[in-house]
């Protein structure tokens, strides 16, 4: 650490150049933080998927429905500990812009699967008892100021009710939280029995099934057993782990990871030149000073370390500033991606990349500094 003032002073030898180089790195890492953050947010559903869960969807396309009867058939497959079902309701509140992630479910079945939700017992009981009852996530409730006892209308873009209209009324009987999966707190869950009785078409069919298995190592075998059960029927199934299901869903949107990686590759490619050229210039201008260091007894390896340390300091400091800026700006994207904080893994990844960048750009000037001959440098050759 005693070399710190020396490294620091060398870094600021040409202030304008250092400031601009620093700012280019800051900007690159700001972009890195934002883009990787968005990418990670999209992938977090995949990364955090429950290993005990299988998703059963119609083999023709996962938007096609399945018969309700499949539920009990799958419950009797050995190794299956619980089955729940969901459908896409496509609801919005008051205005099409206020889209609500709403699903009809069976409360008792849902609770056996949904271990990540927390809901007070009395509220859950009220939900089971109330035909038009709904439970909503804490974030969603806060967004629209909903309280227990409120009667809330949702408009479905898909489902029409017997007697006409697509406006469905629900009584809010409970509010749940999901400490580990904040995005779940945007959900709106209501009774499947109410939904199925009231809808005009599609009766007796559900969107997809969620299967809890006792032993995740048996997942592949159980998935095959489920699909075998319905082979050659009009509604063949395709059973995947929750992780595979999330992945294939993301791939439908497009390869976000691919685009982000390409853009960042381009950004760092140009940064490599900007930083490398700046460090190289700085090294060239300091040849006499580096020779002095060697004269007073710094070894070749010592000088190499000093120059490398300088580039590491430059890159890491700038990267930290850029990542901090990204972390500050990230909450602004909340509405678009639903995640509030920049994942910590992205910060760690950023620091690692900064060190790699420093080594890649610093190695050449550091090597030249190491090779520098004192006699030639002092003589100005």
């Amino acid at each position: 650490m005693k070399f710190l003032p020396l490294i620091w002073a060398a870094l600021w030898r040409k202030k304008t150049r250092t400031v601009f180089t620093l700012l280019s790195i800051v900007v690159a890492f700001l972009l890195f933080g934002m883009l990787q953050g968005v990418n990670a947010a999209f992938n977090s559903a995949v990364d955090r998927a429950n290993v005990n869960r299988l998703m059963v969807a119609n083999a023709t396309a996962f938007t096609e429905s399945l018969p309700y009867a499949y539920l009990t058939q799958i419950e009797s497959v050995p190794g299956v500990s619980a089955v729940s079902q969901q459908s896409w309701f496509g609801g919005y509140y008051q205005d099409p812009k206020n889209f609500v992630f709403s699903f009809p479910v069976e409360p008792l079945r849902w609770r056996r699967i949904g271990t990540e939700y927390r809901i007070p017992e009395d509220q859950f009981d009220a939900w089971v008892r109330t035909r038009t009852g709904a439970v909503v996530g804490a974030q969603l409730a806060a967004k629209y100021g909903w309280k227990i006892g409120d009667r809330v209308p949702l408009h479905s873009v898909i489902w029409t009710k017997a007697g006409g209209g697509s406006d469905w009324e629900f009584d809010i009987v409970g509010i749940f939280t999901s400490p580990e999966f904040a995005s779940r707190e945007n959900q709106f869950l209501f009774n499947y029995s109410y939904f199925d009785e009231a809808r005009v078409f599609g009766k007796g069919r559900v969107g997809w099934l969620v299967v809890q298995v006792a032993d995740p190592r048996a997942s592949a075998r159980i998935a095959a057993a489920i699909d075998h059960l319905f082979a050659n029927s009009p509604d063949e199934t395709e059973t995947k782990t929750e992780k595979e299901f999330q992945q294939s869903f993301l791939k439908q949107i497009g390869d976000i990871n691919f685009i982000v990686t390409r853009i960042l590759f381009a950004v760092f490619f140009s940064l490599l030149f900007a930083t490398g050229s700046s460090l190289m210039q700085s090294m060239r201008e300091r040849i006499p000073e580096l020779a002095v260091l060697k004269t007073v007894g710094f070894t070749d390896a010592g000088v190499l370390r000093l120059v490398l340390a300088e580039s590491v300091m430059l890159c890491v400091l700038a990267a930290l500033a850029g990542l901090a800026a990204a972390a500050l700006l990230f909450p602004a994207l909340r509405d678009a991606i639903g995640v509030v904080t920049l994942p910590r893994a992205v910060l760690a990844e950023g620091v690692v990349i900064a060190v790699l960048l420093a080594l890649a750009t610093g190695l050449l000037p550091a090597w030249r500094a190491r090779r520098l001959s004192i006699v030639d440098a002092l003589a100005g050759r």
């Binding site: 005693k2 070399f3 003032p5 020396l6 002073a9 060398a10 600021w12 030898r13 006499p288 000073e289 020779a291 002095v292 260091l293 060697k294 004269t295 007073v296 007894g297 710094f298 070894t299 070749d300 390896a301 010592g302 004192i374 006699v375 002092l378 003589a379």
Partner: protein, 231 residues
């Protein structure tokens, strides 16, 4: 007194382009502990080359260089660097201070290579600055110092690790007469009172008068040697 510096049949060749140029042709030289030697000679005579060999900045093409009993021609890169850090202080014509560091930090440089604590380093730096009479300029940058002051800082840097040998290359070449005399006086004091052996390259006969001995080099050979008692 015993010879602190001893050169035997030292030859130095350089490659300039494709040509090999022999700069020193078999130098034999002994310098005693406590001597103040002025190395003189015309441009291109090999003065600086000889000085660099004595200071361990360069190694001979053949021959032996021993300083304080150590065969420095046999030392390789890192060991030679460590040897320089302990045994030699350097003073250059253009001071060669690091422009972005304060006087104090410049003087401290050689101490960074020792295991001294920050407090010990600070004490030694203050002592060195006191010897050259610049205690009040510790926090100034080189650009804020006059030429004479900058050279004093450079001398303090050369002294701070308490080497036995000071190697000076035209230390007054960039200074006016009065300032030059001050610097030379300082070197003389260090030689007399602290027992430092001083080897100084100069082309200025007035500067050479401060030395106890003068060596003349021409075309890569020692041509004469004179000892002059100084008042």
């Amino acid at each position: 007194m015993a010879a602190i510096i001893s050169l035997r049949n030292v030859v130095k060749r350089y490659l300039r382009g494709k040509q090999s140029v022999e700069v020193l042709h078999g130098i034999d030289l002994d310098i005693e502990t406590g001597d103040f030697v002025a190395l003189m000679g015309p441009s291109g005579s090999g003065k600086t080359t000889l000085l660099n060999l004595i200071g361990g900045l360069d190694t001979p093409s053949s021959g032996e260089v021993s300083v304080a009993g150590v065969r420095i021609d046999a030392l390789g890169g890192a060991r030679l660097a460590r040897w320089r850090a302990r045994n030699v202080g350097f003073v250059f014509q253009f001071y060669n201070l690091l422009p972005q560091l304060s006087a104090q930090r410049n003087v401290e440089l050689p101490l960074l290579l020792t295991s001294l604590s920050a407090a010990q380093r600070r004490r030694n730096v203050q002592a060195a600055l006191a010897i050259v009479g610049l205690s009040d300029r510790a926090h100034h940058k080189p650009s804020e110092l006059s030429g004479g002051q900058a050279q004093r800082v450079a001398i303090a840097r050369a002294l701070v690790s308490d080497p036995t040998l000071l190697v000076c290359d035209e230390p007054t070449g960039d200074l006016d007469r009065a300032t030059a005399d001050e610097i030379l006086g300082l070197l003389q004091t260090l030689n007399r009172e602290q027992g430092k052996t001083v080897v100084m390259v100069t082309h200025d006969p007035k500067a050479a008068e401060f030395a106890t001995h003068q060596l003349y080099l021409d075309k890569g050979e020692l041509v004469s040697r004179s000892t002059k008692a100084v008042a």
